[in-house]
Amino acid sequence: MNLHEYQGKELFARFGLPVLPGQVAVTPEEARDIAASIGGAVVIKAQVQAGGRGKAGGVKLANSPDEAMSRARDILALTIKGLPVRKVLVTQAADIARELYLSIVLDRGRRMPLVMLSAEGGVDIEEVAHQSPERIIRYPIPLEGLRPYQARALFQPLLEDGSQVAQAADILLKLYRVYSDGDCSLAEINPLAITPQGRVLALDAKVILDDNAEFRHREWATWRDPDEETPGQRLAREMGLSYVRLEGDIGCVVNGAGLAMATMDLIKHYGGEPANFLDIGGSSNPEKVTAALKIITGDTRTREANGSAVPSVRAILFNIFGGITRCDDVANGIVQSLKTSPLQVPLVIRLTGTNEELARKILSDFGLSATTSMDEGVRAVIAKAQEVTA
């Protein structure tokens, strides 16, 4: 789960990291009231999970509560990288003398958490990583944890002032606790700002949580933002399906993540465009299959031609390799689903593995057939999609 900046800052504050006072607003009036309570200049920041908010006009300075209201109104009307802005963070403005970059992330190769630090803060760090990787200092955190002297040593070459080094080191030690105790996949401060008065502050917060650790963090459920999910994504999450929407028109329902990716790739290889990634998982019951079809057929988008929302999927492929997944379960799911809500688009089924014969019987009793070859299934579904288009 990706956190909004305001949620990340709440988490930071809980661990004692220095963040400036601020609150989230959903209306311009709320933004005005928050600005009045903070007093002085404030920054209004769009709360969408996309990089480049500043460039898109999603971050504005306001010198009075009334200005805060009008700025908030402008920002709440924006759509940034396809995401409508529904919330803004109103936070105290700060003068900035210098900006650094600081994050902790998993180093998969070393199997250790990694500190990433750069004097080039406030910019897109991915660009720095690609263009001039030498400007990023990488420090793997030892298994026993991070010691204060190690944290100081990292900042000493970058900051001359001893007080700033001490503040920055303290921030890093606390950020490591956020990362570790908080079960984060990423804990990032960009920029880590130094004010003209020499204060070191976390001016932004980007946090990605390790979803697998949700069982020991009850508060995470309250952080999930329903506005960030489409109905399809919500249904997928509730049913335990992995679903990622793509731009194409061929829907696919697959068991297993690797096979699902390979199915998308094969659709593309034979000249089609996959509409989604969808993994129904290992022990698939018929309900999961029904939900999968509902998600795929419910995925509509506006086509330029007539301006109305139409289903984006022109044909659907099931690609099932039975192992723990039983082919008869999937066949039952397909039949049950089609009985209650018949499909408007052609369906191609590929089944092989556990209880394949039983599955074929279930399908043929319902007037459906299935292929055993993945390549054949993919070619067939592309042909069907083209017939629909023509």
């Binding site: 998969r108 297993g256 790739d265």
Partner: protein, 343 residues
């Protein structure tokens, strides 16, 4: 022959009384795996599919002399299960469970690695988590891979996926290409046994003649494997990468399958293999043909090699002694269109 498991594998099942554990215990016993015991705390003394259940791994180990274990316990308890197995002295620990927090896997990984180092490399080895396990066709299966799609033969298979592995193994078997061992190393960002570990084992296994490596987007394990193969693997390898059409920043089902910060794309990984002279299958159904070609080339080279050496010796004997050293070298065969290793 095979890697990691064979007829001598004496297996424990942790979480044997659970739904998945019980079902797969039955499947493994039916396949011929020597399942010598199960572990579920509080259920010691029971029997599941003829397998005695113990309260702890240590008790089970001392009663059965087990040397391997497979873990089916829920994610919250799986880390503890790995520690328990490692501390009880099991040599092979296969964690099927998915959904372990990375922090937990890290602690288990480093604990296992420490024990292994302390014992001079003979200590425990972790496979997974979030993996289908492994099978040495005709000998033993540990985990959830379906036995009927495999057959014994010369191909070693290592993969980050589950069902995609089944797909490719099934295609290999139908093409008459049996396997020494099929190993699923898992789809998490942190896993115990890496591609490099598996490649090392396959390279040392006398029966393995060719290797299929199936990677996917995310991380740099495939790139590291490509460098390793170039330097240390003489057997032919065929690679495949899933996720060529995956968008950046989205997790594709597996916790580890994500293109992050523009790194970990399929294109980068395929390029790394190609740069190392390793053929890359564009689609899964190309793999059997590439393996068949690699096997044929390896075998014909082996048939030719002794004869070539002998004729070189004769030729060298006829020449002056100063030139003998050079002439005795195996002649380099030019193989137009064949993938070349940068060795």
């Amino acid at each position: 022959m095979s890697i990691l498991i064979d007829k001598g594998t004496r297996l424990l099942v942790q979480g044997v009384t659970g739904r998945d554990g019980a079902f797969h215990t039955q499947q493994m016993v039916a396949y011929g795996t020597r399942v010598v015991g199960g572990v579920t705390p509080g259920k010691g003394g029971e029997k599941i599919h003829g397998v005695p259940v113990f309260d702890s791994v240590a008790q089970a180990q001392s009663a059965t002399r087990a040397n391997a274990t497979v873990i089916y316990v829920p994610a919250q308890f799986a880390t503890d299960a790995i520690f328990e197995a490692a501390d009880a002295g099991l040599e092979l620990i296969v964690c099927i469970t998915e959904g372990l927090p990375v922090r937990d896997t890290l602690s288990a990984y480093h604990h296992v690695a420490k024990l292994r180092e302390q014992s001079g490399g003979r200590g425990p080895r972790l496979v997974g988590p979030n993996c289908p396990g492994l099978i040495s066709p005709g000998l033993s299966k540990v985990g959830i891979l379906p036995g009927q799609i495999c057959k014994p033969g010369p191909v070693g298979v290592v993969s980050r996926s589950g069902t995609l592995t089944y797909e490719v193994v099934h295609q290999l078997t139908r093409a008459g290409l049996g396997q020494t061992t099929c190993l699923g190393i898992g789809g998490d960002p942190v896993i115990g046994t890496s591609f490099i570990d598996a490649l090392t084992l396959f390279e040392a296994d006398a029966q393995t003649e060719a290797i299929v490596l199936m990677g996917e987007i995310g991380g740099t394990d495939e790139e590291e494997a490509a460098h390793f193969i170039r330097r240390h693997v003489k057997k032919p390898v065929v690679a495949f990468i899933a996720g060529q059409t995956a968008p950046p920043g989205k997790r594709m089902g597996h916790a580890g399958a994500i293109i992050a910060g523009g790194f970990g794309t399929a294109a980068e990984k395929m390029a790394a293999f190609e740069a190392a002279g390793i053929p890359v299958a564009r689609i899964p159904s190309e793999i059997p043909r590439l393996i068949a070609v690699a096997l044929e080339r390896r075998r014909s080279r082996r048939r030719a090699a002794p004869a070539a050496r002998a004729s070189n010796k004769q030729r060298a004997a006829r020449r002056s002694s100063s030139a003998a050293g050079k002439a005795a070298r195996r002649p380099k065969k030019s193989r137009p269109g064949a993938p070349r290793r940068g060795r």
